[in-house]
Symmetry: none
């Protein structure tokens, strides 16, 4: 039974502008058994009359929502992160919500996050880059953009539907996945080493690093694997120092 | 192809009280390729500012919505009718939305209807009796009642999912995946470099390399990505040679 896993999914909303939307999100989360709402730099008041009116009997979800300043803060401790986007991204595989969302609740006892962008612009490239997988809700080319709260509703519904499904066998992999901050530490270390060996140049580092993020995010590393590939970086640094001191 | 069938599904809302809900319903209908909205004895103004504000780019759906006095009028010409309800009905089989909704679009060139009740009370027994089948959206016992527009959103989404969607743009990711022999070349190169920098020892190389294979196989690299990570290896070799010849 995966119902406990549902309670471990954070709904992260970046810079929501509409209090009505935030209230509606709280309601539909409770409708489908979710309870952790994180607002990143909200542009509206979740304690307002409008938000509470839309939340109806989900005032508890609204009241205990967390507000944080940045997306990385919201993602602390999460081992599986899916970002939602309507954009057509060349560089990565957008997966239908139905296919990809169950992945969030397959790893037992792990915090995971489902990230939504602001009403006006959706998630930026930088924000998308924190995620390992990307969900889209298939919609009509005549009017593709869903209302934010509707998009959250459909995703929460899909997650709840997935709970009723038998656990898939890919959940059998270790539940010892690398957490967000551990991966970030690796990317910073990788960038430093690549700059040092002259693979990266300061002015192109950001766009190049984005590609490596995509690769390693997709690989979905566990802590041991992350340790192994990070060990390579340490060893490169050691070998360079050894070569330099040798004459 | 069932997409035309989607356009033949009427969304019938009995006595909606909220203009915001009606606007949101129009928007999400258009998001999922539906266009026929029928309001039965509406208790709000679909031409109001609030409704149009929520409809955003679905003002056309809102403008051409039909208003009728009774539910039987709304159902004229429909051969398949599903009513939505959250009630636990002894006398009939409530089917999950996912299971029952595709039935609406299975009969070619037939008008069909999906009926929703008012925000406050849902559909009455009498109203339910016009339908042939009954859909429910499985939700949490802690808070089962969905917002009306959210319920419509999930049902429209399910209908659109049931339609044989055209090949989506998610196939747009390159089909330029790295071939087996290219990956093998990378693994051999990686092993050579890791031996050289002292990360691997000859007697443990095989089992360690197996772990790296798992990581990169999972990442499912395209040719360009493989080129990028293989470039790192070349650069490490270059940096080591440069360090060795430096004094």
């Amino acid at each position: 039974m995966l119902e406990q896993e549902l309670a471990l999914v954070k709904i992260v909303v970046v810079e929501p502008a509409g209090a009505l939307n935030v209230g509606a999100i709280a309601r539909v989360m409770k409708n489908f058994g979710l309870s952790q709402l994180i607002l990143v730099n909200p542009q509206c008041d979740r304690t307002s009359e409008a938000a509470r009116h839309m939340a109806v009997h989900a005032g508890d979800v609204l009241a205990k929502a967390n507000e944080v300043a940045t997306l990385p803060e919201a993602l602390q401790g999460c081992t599986r992160i899916i970002a939602t986007t309507a954009r057509d991204r060349q560089w990565d595989l957008l997966e239908p919500a139905r296919t990809v969302l169950p992945w969030l609740i397959e790893a037992p006892k792990q915090q995971s996050a489902l990230v939504f962008g602001p009403e006006s612009r959706g998630l930026s490239n930088e924000e998308l880059n924190y995620a390992q997988r990307f969900a889209r809700i298939p919609s009509s080319p005549n009017y593709a953009a869903l209302n934010l709260a509707q998009a959250v509703a459909i995703c929460c519904y899909e997650l709840a539907q997935a709970v009723d499904l038998p656990p898939s066998d890919r959940s059998s992999k270790t539940n010892n996945y690398a957490a967000f901050e551990e991966l970030e530490g690796y990317y910073q270390h990788l960038e430093a080493v690549l700059l040092k060996i002259g693979y990266l140049y300061p002015h192109t580092a950001a766009s190049r690093m984005e590609k490596f993020r995509h690769i390693y995010n997709r690989a979905y590393l566990d802590k041991q694997e992350l340790g192994a590939i990070r060990g390579i970086l340490t060893q490169i640094e050691w070998a360079l120092r050894a070569a330099e001191t040798r004459e």
